[in-house]
Amino acid sequence: MSFFAFVISVLMGVGSLAFAYSGIGQERLVYGLLALGAFWLYAGWRRWAWASSGIILILVTAAGYGLWIELSPGWMIAGALGALLAWDLSEFLRRLKVAPKTDDLRGMQRRHLARLTIVALTGLLLASISMLVRLEFTLEWMMLLAVVGVLGITQLVAWLRRG
């Protein structure tokens, strides 16, 4: 069940980005993304969770680059969201792999997928709203984001040092 969801997520993430990039004739990038997706599927089948961290960074970077060159934001969000879901599921599959079959794995998978779906839909909704509203990046917005960013980074550093 979870592996099927993982496959769907990888296809969604890689497929969305590849489709968007194929529209502007970036053939090499499309092939690269498809190869990356194939490798991710293979890594997921082999339960290589370590591969996911690198791949999600590449796919999010590809989505960000797509936004910058003004590709369709919908495909980019779908790509990043698919990458997030696949990244989560690859780790979840790794945890399931070490559990014995006698545990309630079906119940855990069902609950995990339900929560993941809710979070994904919420994220998608928020992202879609933000795209639709298309807030202008005024100086005030920029200042606010900079302050929030600085505070967040300070908190992050403090948290990491405590850890």
């Binding site: 934001p73 997030l84 989560d88 014995p100 309630d104 933000s130 990046f137 992050l156």
Partner: protein, 428 residues
């Protein structure tokens, strides 16, 4: 890279990209990641409060005997969505059924219990604790802990019960036992004649001798039987025990040592054990069942080892063994050991060598061909010569082909003579 760090890195990278390019879409792209991270943090367990108990079906087992491990976990803290529990047991132990690792959800106040079955080779195995990993919905902020739950499993060498081992030391202890003490007194075996003394049982009177000497009566005297000091030396040197392909005679030596110690203690003797290998492991001499436990514990830990200091037997601390006591060496023997054994014999110790035969052991797995047969013949002759020299020096040597059960070999060579021979006063 931790999952949290990766998520925060992506979120900040997108926010900074938005700031740098003045594109609001980057912030929108970061929102699913923010939602994911916040939900993870929201449901992360603050504190892991678990009570863990582990019980073993037995704490003393023999090799390959199944031991059932039961682990009970109770959650005294908040609900934990995903809990990975792993009972840490030695990699030398084999899990026969069940699993030491489980993945589950545990609500507050709930308990979970599981069992698994293990077995393994001889040794002492410490179960340190239970490794716990508690996670939120998405494993963003896992809490790890190791909960202390100490148990110890001893896998002792299998004991072969030996009925009787005939030894004869020059010095015995004061308590009565089974070893002839070379002293007259109450006993079974005839020892000599002495003048009848008031209080002697009338059936002790030797009428034949008394008839020859009309002036007084003579009584039979019997040999006292007492307990003795027995020091067992287990040879754990790598060079005598290890063979190519991880094969080892040491397990046979350990089995023999355990059986001998059990037999000597059952006869009432005071027994000590010296494990001579990488270092010296000395079990102080004592009597009885408690001493048997001590020796079995020492044998459970015993391993072969190599050391330049203890490569020969010349560093056996002889002072540990009382003068004129019985010393039993359990060793496959090396050509260099002969001098040490002869010196020990010259000091007045009764030496018995139980020697698992390395030649027949090695032949049992080597291919049958003329080269192997010739080599076997040569080393067999060398070994026979060594044994003969030792026997000539007064060392009692039992050459044990480990393909034969130890108890049968002992019964044939060191046990009491058969009833028929005893009846006619014969000796083996």
């Amino acid at each position: 890279m931790s999952r949290t760090f990766l998520l925060i890195l992506i979120i900040y990278a997108l926010l900074l990209a938005g700031l740098a390019t003045l594109h609001g879409e980057f912030v929108g792209l970061a929102l699913p990641f923010v939602a994911y991270l916040l939900v993870g943090f929201w449901r992360a367990p603050d504190e892991i409060k678990l009570e863990v108990y582990r019980t073993l079906s037995t704490e003393r087992a023999v090799p390959d005997e199944n031991v059932v491990v039961t682990v009970d976990v109770t959650n005294q803290g908040a609900d934990i969505e995903e809990l990975v529990l792993e009972d840490i047991c030695s990699p030398k132990l084999t899990v026969r059924s069940g699993s030491p690792r489980h993945l589950l959800s545990l609500k507050k106040g709930d308990s979970y219990s599981w069992t698994y079955t293990i077995n393994g080779p001889r040794g002492s195995y410490l179960f340190g604790g239970i490794k716990v990993q508690a996670m939120d919905y998405f494993g963003v902020r896992p809490g790890r802990q190791q909960i202390h739950a100490r148990s110890e499993l001893f896998i002792f060498p299998p004991l072969t019960r030996l009925k009787y081992i005939k030894i004869r030391t020059r010095r015995t202890r004061v308590y009565s036992g089974t070893i002839p003490a070379r002293l007259g007194g109450p006993g079974v075996e005839f020892f000599g004649l002495r003048e009848y003394q008031p209080g002697d049982p009338p059936r002790w009177i030797n009428w034949r001798a008394s008839a020859r000497h009309s002036e007084s009566l003579y009584a039979n005297e019997f040999q006292q039987e007492r307990v003795a000091d027995v020091g067992i030396v287990l040879d754990g040197r790598e060079k005598t025990n290890q063979f190519p392909g991880e094969r080892s005679l040491f397990e046979h030596s350990v089995l023999a040592t355990a059986s001998l110690a059990d037999a000597f203690l059952s006869q009432g003797n005071r027994v000590s054990l010296l494990h001579y290998g990488r270092y010296l492991d000395w079990t102080l001499p004592a009597y009885g069942k408690v001493q048997r436990e001590r020796i079995l514990h020492a044998l459970a830990h015993a391993q072969t080892g190599g050391s330049p200091v203890f490569s020969g037997l010349e560093h056996i601390p002889v002072r540990l063994f009382p003068a004129h006591s019985q010393v039993v060496l359990v060793s496959p023997l090396d050509a260099g050991d002969m001098d040490v054994l002869i010196q020990l014999r010259a000091r007045g110790y009764q030496i018995m060598v139980i020697s698992p035969d390395p030649v027949s052991f090695e032949l049992s797995y080597l291919p049958e061909n003329s080269s192997v047969a010739l080599a076997a013949r040569v080393v067999r002759m060398e070994r026979d010569l060594l044994i003969k020299k030792l026997q000539h020096a007064g060392v009692q040597v039992l050459d044990w082909n480990v393909a034969h059960p130890f108890d049968q070999v002992i019964k044939q060579r060191l046990g009491p003579p058969p009833a028929l021979l005893r009846a006619i006063g014969g000796r083996i």
